[in-house]
């Protein structure tokens, strides 16, 4: 899964409702790879509206991925360096295996074959 997918997911254990803690999930023991992909400006502009940018920069920093500014530039299209770095972090950074832990309730979701497993047991829903 790309970091984009991680940015879309949160803990959904029933009692875990604090939005400050159930998102973003904490990546642990992950295997990372960079997958070179052609940059697509329209796709990035679409994603800028969909990404939680604060969560993205927090996660990127934890993974040692530097170079994203603290805030989205006012005119991102006019900032090719930003667009390229966003592309690399969001769409080229791929997690093949690992875990995502909730900072609220501690629930751990696994990532296998690049696919996150968000299924919960009956009593957790």
């Amino acid at each position: 899964m790309r970091l984009l997918t991680h940015n879309m997911l949160q803990c959904h254990v029933k009692k875990c409702t604090d939005p400050a803690l159930n998102f973003p999930l904490q990546l642990q023991d992950i295997e990372l790879e960079q997958v070179e992909t052609e940059e697509n400006e329209d796709l990035l502009l679409n994603l800028i509206n969909k990404v939680d940018y604060n969560a993205l920069t927090t996660t990127a920093a934890q993974l040692g991925l530097v170079g994203l500014p603290n805030a989205i530039p006012k005119d991102p299209q006019a900032d090719p360096a930003f667009m390229t770095r966003l592309h690399e972090v969001l769409l080229e950074t791929n997690i093949t295996q690992g875990k995502m832990a909730c900072r609220g309730c501690g629930h751990v979701y696994t990532i296998k074959d690049g696919i996150p497993n968000m299924l919960l047991a009956e009593h957790e829903i």
């Binding site: 984009l4 679409n46 696919i115």
Partner: protein
């Protein structure tokens, strides 16, 4: 169903599924059948609506299984050499979920086998859209679900294996009825949702239920396949 195209108009090609084999993959993942193909036909019939009016930026398939539907939507219906407008289909993001991890892997295989870019498909092993951040409420421009609609013993509902692809419990409605109230929370203002149903699911009643949720519904395709009377319901905001 009314159609303005000529009866000889060529169909869009069905995605290449040669990488999936009946012995291995289809033991654990639902093999595309008449219900899947009727859904593809309904999407194809709506190509102009989708390209000109909906102009999807975010698409969701629940229960993506083999991946044939999302791959067809992305690779055939929305990707066209001559878009009617400035719509850029390569900027569209796709989300696919399945409760069955083997199905999620098959979805990705089919997507890649048909030349679609890995990074534009976000695959998650989950029920419906459980685990997605609430900011995605009301943002999906296309929502597609070929649900487990077969009338079965209720005890068969809720597995994470291939039975999850078809076991629908009483009237085949148990999973469908869980999904219906989610549709209005998923659809963007211009969004459309396509749902496969059979006669035993009482499609007209499903449409009425969605009207109580404020959505307009209609049956846009029908076909008899073996013992099943299949239909495709389409929902959108009035």
């Amino acid at each position: 169903m009314q159609s303005t195209s000529s009866p000889t108009a060529p169909h869009l090609p069905t995605p290449n599924l040669s990488h999936l084999s009946s012995g291995q993959d289809y033991a654990n993942v639902y093999e595309p059948a008449e219900d899947s193909f009727l859904l593809l036909d309904a999407l194809e019939a709506d190509q102009s609506l989708l390209l000109e009016t909906v102009r999807p930026q975010l698409c969701l398939e629940v229960g993506s299984g083999s991946g044939v539907v999302s791959t067809f939507l992305a690779g055939q219906v929305l990707r066209t050499d001559s878009p009617p407008t400035d719509y850029n289909s390569t900027a569209t993001l796709y989300v696919a979920t399945d409760i069955n991890p083997d199905a999620a892997r098959a979805t990705r295989k089919t997507w890649l086998q048909n030349g679609l870019p890995d990074h534009s498909l976000q695959l998650v092993n989950t029920r419906f859209t459980e685990g997605f951040h609430p900011r995605f409420c009301g943002t999906f421009d296309v929502v597609v679900f070929n649900p487990p609609y077969v009338v079965t013993d209720p005890a068969e509902v809720g597995s994470h294996s291939i039975a999850a692809a078809w076991a629908g419990g009483i009237d085949g409605r148990e999973v469908i009825d869980q999904f219906l109230p989610m549709i209005p929370t998923l659809l963007s203002p211009r969004g459309v949702c396509y749902l496969v149903l059979i006669a035993q699911n009482r499609p007209d009643e499903v449409v009425s239920i969605m009207e109580t949720h404020g959505l307009r519904g209609e049956i846009v395709a029908r076909r008899k396949a073996g013992i099943e009377y299949l239909s495709i319901a389409r929902f959108s905001w009035p």
